[in-house]
Amino acid sequence: MSWSDAFLAATRSLGRRLGRAALTVLAVALAAALLSALLIISTSARTRVLDQLAKGGPLAGIQVAAAAPGPEALDTDSPRPGRARDLDQAAVRRIRRLPAVRSVVPLESTPILAEVPTTDVEPFRDTIAGINLREIRRLPITVIVGRTPTPGSRTEIAVTEGYLRRVGLQRSTATKALGTEVILGAPRIFPSDRNRPVFRGRWTRTVIVGVVAQQVLSAQFLGSDSMVADARAWTAASPPSRGLDLPTSRYAGLFVIANGLDQVGEVRAAVTKLGYSTSAPENLIETVRRYLRVVEIVLAGIGFIALAIAALGITNALLAAVRERRREIGVLKAIGARDRDVRRIFLIEAGITGLLGGMLGTVSGYFIARVLGSIVNGYLVDQDLPGVAIGLPVAVLAGGILGATLLAVLAGIIPAQRAARLPARQAMGDA
């Protein structure tokens, strides 16, 4: 008997006992829905938690300070840096050449004076961090409102929540900061005749275009690398030892991304060997990953128990079908069916039940996860926290369908074997 003939016989048989088949499919669907919803939610939660730990940046991110390694070096995620050590272009090139390094983003900073003309806030000293804004997606920076400055712009900046607090705003009212003007001054000391230094600023009118969640290099302002380089060059022209204490390092730090989370330790060790202090939340992330793995195993276990119960339902339904169809199976054998033909029909019936249940269940599970995700998001947004994004986990969906089908086929083995072994004499009724 060909597979297509067996498939036809199996589908017709299921169609004849539509009520029972529908209930069996429903049981599988419920179990598959539970399993897939749990896995989708736990996967999304893991992504969200790890993202939070990595502060929105890549999990394999490593911060390199313009300092020599401290005594703790690689013992902790955030060791205390040692003495200052210049990070220049040559150091960046050496680090880029290290194995397992995907990218290196240099970070610059310079002290500035800030004046906010539209408020009563007194002018204050702070720092502006500069980066190549084309590479901002590689950094642990999350935009709360607005956008990041245009790459190369000398008039657009982003600010942090620290700035918002300084001007009397909160995260919920952050949009009010957008479009407001901040005048930034790069300080410089000029020598004078009276042996008293003269401070003069190089003032730039800037506009706030976005608010970001994280500070970069402890700065409350974020701008383009060219804007910061210009300001730094102006300040650096001051005579030495006149109170500005501008570091000699070209870069204030680097953000290095390893090829993967497993390579973070290797890259940190290599950078430390080059003589720079590094920090990365690798140990924390690994610990959290282990806990999350346990949670996932427990949730998957619950889902698999449900699927196992559904599989028992399939076995029970098929055993009942075998009991009811003894004569029919006997007739099949009387007209020439081999044991394996009968077995094939019952296994296909089980497989179809699992496939239909798996498809219905995993798709339902996905939508259940989305509904739950939106409820959780509502709560998180109320708490001023970033929401959870429920993606389309193709692997979970495909795995759910495939797993339900395989489990159903496994559940069908005993009934199929029992049917195949029924004597052909059953065609004539019980002896």
Partner: protein
């Protein structure tokens, strides 16, 4: 298709029951001519249906030998036995034995699905067979939509699907009224004669037996009487 002779030599069979072994056939020896029509009669429990099941390869042989043509049934195992049932034997059951989830046409086609062959050829052949038994127009009806006589005609068409040399009928008119039974028997005799098949019919009905060339009566698992072929 041409009929095959059947030879039984000292065939015995018994079933295990709570009370012990129950003999059903005892040292039964019998010869059935190729192309003949034989009726098997006897009271309930005499072993008629068991004998038919043995002849059709539905029941394993416990002792003795059964030869259908050149084939010794006790030497066949598993797939060989399935092939024998498929290629050599056509069954007609009292309960028709049609699969309720298939149409009449599909029931006939099913009997041809255990050998290679195109779906189209199978369908054409099934139509021919339904036409031969006079119910081509009912091909797309399911068994529950057919009368008893129509269902038995479909069963007969299915039995003929693989051009069997031996036709085995177990109470073929047991569920039919008088007129319908006569028509089905006429048809059964006609197709058996036309194809030269050996026909063995188990029946309680003397009128059915009267149509056979020879009647064998079983009693308590032994041959009680064998009435010679009609003149």
């Amino acid at each position: 298709m041409s009929g095959l002779p059947i030879d039984l030599t000292q065939v015995s069979i018994s079933y295990r029951t709570r009370e012990g072994m129950l003999p059903v056939l005892i040292d039964l020896s019998l010869h059935i001519d190729a192309g003949s029509r034989t009726a098997i009669m006897g009271p309930s429990g005499a072993g008629k249906t068991t004998l038919l099941a043995l002849l059709g390869g539905l029941e394993p042989i416990q002792s003795g030998t059964i030869r259908v043509g050149d084939v010794e049934l006790s030497t066949l195992r598993g797939d060989e036995l399935a092939r024998f049932r498929h290629e050599t034997v056509g069954f007609v059951f009292q309960h028709f034995g049609l699969l309720g989830n298939l149409t009449a046409l599909e029931n006939v086609e099913l009997a041809m699905s255990f050998t290679r062959g195109s779906t189209r050829a199978r369908r054409d052949r099934a139509r021919e067979l339904l036409a031969a038994v006079g119910i081509e127009a009912r091909g797309h009806h399911r068994p529950h939509e057919l009368s008893g006589g129509e269902a038995q005609r479909v069963a007969l068409a299915r039995a003929l699907a693989n051009e069997p040399s031996v036709l085995l009928a177990d109470e073929p008119t047991g569920n039919l009224d008088g007129d319908t039974a006569t028509k089905v028997l006429d048809l059964l005799d006609a197709v058996a004669d036309a194809r030269g098949a050996t026909l063995v019919t188990v029946t309680h009905d003397p009128l059915v037996a009267a149509r056979a060339h020879r009647t064998i009566t079983l009693r308590a698992g032994t041959l009680d009487a064998s009435i010679a072929p009609r003149s």
